[in-house]
Assembly symmetry: C2
C-alpha cells in the first residue's frame, strides 16, 4: 500500500477570460480566413489562456492509465471477471494493449498506475504503485471506500499529474482499466449530473440483456442505500479507486495550469466529480471523444462539455484521449508556426 | 510548363471483400471488447484489405498541397484576389501556413505542387513544378481547360502520388490552395453528385451576401453554358487544375493500393470526379472531415462517404486530412501492436 498522502484541495486559478479577446484577435489575424479552423481555434484559445502570458506549447503528452477493481462485480454488473483487470495491466506493461498502440501512433508516453487492483501486482519499471486498497467494497451493500481512502486516492492522482507535468509533459491524458467501473461511473453520474439512474446505465464492456438486468438491479440497490449528494461523499459511496485518482489528476493538471485530456465515460465521471467539487477545474479539461456507452452524451451535457471526436469508441484505457492529442498539438502551433495574414499579404513572408 | 505526360487511366483493383470476414475476426479477437474501437476498427479493416495479404502499415505520410488559379475569379466569385494563391504558396514554402503547422504536429511530410498558379513561381527545393497552364480560363464564359490539359493534370497527379508512395509514404493526403476553387468545386458537384446548383454553393473563404450573389450568378451562367455530364468533360469545363491533379493523385494511390486521405470540400470534389470516372477508387479513399462549407455534407452523401472528423473547419490546404492521419496510424497498429484476447486471458502476455 502506498503512503496515504494527505489531500488538501489545491488552489485552482480559473482562466482569465478578460484576455481572451486579445488571444482571439491573434488567432483571427493568422494567414487563413477568420474562423476557418473551427474548433481548433477554440482549443488554441483555451490553451493560450492556460499558458497566458506565455506562448502555449503542447508537444509532450503523458497518458496515465489508472487501474482499479470494483466490489460491485460480485453483483454480476460486468460481462468480464475482475481477473481481467490485472491481466490487462500486464498487457499494458508488455506494451500490447490498444492504449499502447494508440500512444505509439501519436507519440504519447504511457504510464500505468495501480490505483486499487484487487491482487498484488509484480513490480515493473513502468508500473506506478499507488494502490489505496485491493479493490473497492461492494457498493450495493455499503460504501465503496472510506472517506480517508477517497482522499488518499485524490492526493495520489494529484501528485502523479503534477509529477508528469513537472517532468516535462505539456498535456496530461487520463484513462482507466477496471472491470465493473462503468457501474461505478453510472452511480456517480446519477447522483452528480444528476440524472435518472436508468439513463446512466449502459452495456459497459458488453453486457447482454440478462447482464443488464443484474446491473440495473444492483445499481438500484446501491442508489437506494444512500442519499449522499456531496461530491466527495458520493465518490466514497460509489467508488472507484481509479476514478477517484483520475479526479485527483484533473486537480493536479488544473493546479499546474495545464490541459488534461479526458477519455470516455469513466474518465468523464472522474471529471464530473472534480468539476462538482470545484467548477474552475473545467477550464483545464478537454473532453476527447463521445463514447458509444449509453449515458455519456447526457453526462457530457450535464457539464456542458462538447467532445472533440465521435468515433463510436467505448474501450476506455485512454484510447480516445490519446487520439485527440494531435488536435491540441495542432492548435498550439497556430501561435508558434503560422504567419500573420498581414505579413503574407505585404510580402514579408 | 511541365511535360504533358499522357494520361491513361491506371488499372484499379477493387478491395477483395471476400477476405474481410477473416480480417474482421482478427480485429474482433484483439484484447478488447469486440467492436469497442468503433470506426477505428472499420479503418483497420479497410487498411488491411488494401495491404492484403501483407500486414498493413500506416506510418509515413505525405501531404501533397496542389495550388492553382481560377479564371472564375474574374466574376468576383471569391472574397480574396488571385494574388493570394502565390502568396500562400510562398507561405507554405516558408513553413508558415496552417498546413505546415498541422503537418509538423502530426509528423507528416508536406510537398507543395504548382498545378496551375497564374504567375511564375521562383524555384524552390520544396516546390514541385507541375504547372499545366497559368490558371484556368473563366468557366463562366467557356471551358476552364482543354481536354488535353485535364488529362495532363490527371497524369501529373497520378505520377506525384505514385512517387510519394514509391518514396516510402504509406499514406498520401491531398489538400489544395486556389482562390476561387470552391466555385469550381460547386460546379463539379452540381453536375456529378448531381445536385441542384444552389445546394452546392457556399461562402468558400468567406463571401459576404453581395459576394454570394455574384458567385451564384456566375455559376449559373457557367452551368447554363454546357450540358456536360461525363466526368472528364465536366472536369475540363469547370476546372480547376489543382482539382484535376488531386483526382489524378487519388488514382495514383488507388493504383498503388494505398490509402489517400481526402481533405474538405475542394479535395472531395476531386474525389467525386475520380469516383465517377472509376468507382473502385473509392475503396482507397478516406474522407478526413466534414467541412463547414455549405454543400460538403450533400457532396459526401452523394458518395455515401462518412468523414472521420467534424470540427467546423473550412480552410483547405490539407489541414483536415492531416488531422485524421493519427487515426489511421492508430488503426494500423491494431494488427502489429495489440495482443489477442486469448493470449491475455491464458497468461501468454
Amino acid at each position: 500500500m502506498s503512503p496515504n498522502l494527505e489531500w488538501r484541495e489545491p488552489h485552482i486559478v480559473p482562466l482569465d477570460r478578460s484576455v481572451e479577446p486579445r488571444i482571439r484577435a491573434v488567432i483571427a489575424g493568422k494567414a487563413k480566413p477568420p474562423g476557418s479552423l473551427g474548433r481548433i481555434e477554440d482549443l488554441a484559445a483555451q490553451l493560450a489562456l492556460m499558458w497566458h502570458p506565455d506562448i502555449p506549447r503542447a508537444n509532450k503528452a503523458t497518458l496515465l492509465v489508472f487501474a482499479g477493481d470494483h466490489g460491485l462485480t460480485e453483483e454480476g454488473v460486468s460481462a468480464y471477471p475482475s481477473a481481467v483487470t490485472p491481466a490487462m495491466v500486464r498487457t499494458f506493461l508488455a506494451g500490447r494493449a490498444s492504449a499502447n498502440a494508440f500512444s505509439a501512433a501519436t507519440g504519447v508516453d504511457i504510464r500505468v498506475v495501480d490505483a486499487g487492483v484487487a491482487v498484488d501486482l509484480p513490480e515493473h519499471a513502468n508500473l506506478i504503485g499507488a494502490k489505496i486498497r485491493k479493490g473497492t467494497a461492494n457498493a450495493a451493500r455499503g460504501p465503496a471506500m472510506s472517506s480517508a481512502e477517497a482522499n488518499a486516492a485524490l492526493a495520489q492522482g494529484h501528485r502523479l499529474a503534477c509529477e508528469a507535468i513537472d517532468g516535462g509533459a505539456d498535456i496530461v491524458a487520463i484513462g482507466e482499466m477496471g472491470i465493473g467501473n462503468s457501474a461505478s461511473a453510472a452511480l456517480l453520474m446519477h447522483r452528480l449530473a444528476p440524472a435518472p439512474l436508468i439513463d446512466c446505465i449502459g452495456a459497459g464492456a458488453g453486457q447482454d440483456e440478462a447482464g443488464m438486468a443484474k446491473k440495473r438491479a444492483a445499481l438500484e440497490r446501491a442508489a437506494a442505500r444512500t442519499a449522499a449528494s456531496a461530491p466527495l461523499e458520493v465518490l466514497s459511496e460509489f467508488g472507484g479507486l481509479e476514478i477517484a485518482m483520475m479526479a485527483g489528476a484533473i486537480f493536479g493538471a488544473a493546479a499546474r495550469r495545464r490541459p488534461v485530456m479526458i477519455d470516455g465515460f469513466i474518465a468523464s465521471s472522474a471529471a464530473l466529480v472534480a468539476i462538482r467539487m470545484r467548477p474552475a477545474v473545467q477550464d483545464y479539461c478537454i473532453f476527447a471523444h463521445r463514447s458509444a456507452e449509453r449515458g455519456h452524451s447526457l453526462m457530457l451535457a450535464s457539464m456542458k462539455a462538447a467532445p472533440l471526436l465521435e468515433l463510436g469508441m467505448r474501450l476506455g484505457e485512454g484510447t480516445g484521449a490519446v487520439l485527440a492529442i494531435p488536435l491540441l498539438r495542432a492548435a498550439s502551433r497556430l501561435f508558434t508556426d503560422v504567419a500573420a495574414l498581414e505579413d503574407v499579404l505585404t510580402g514579408k513572408i
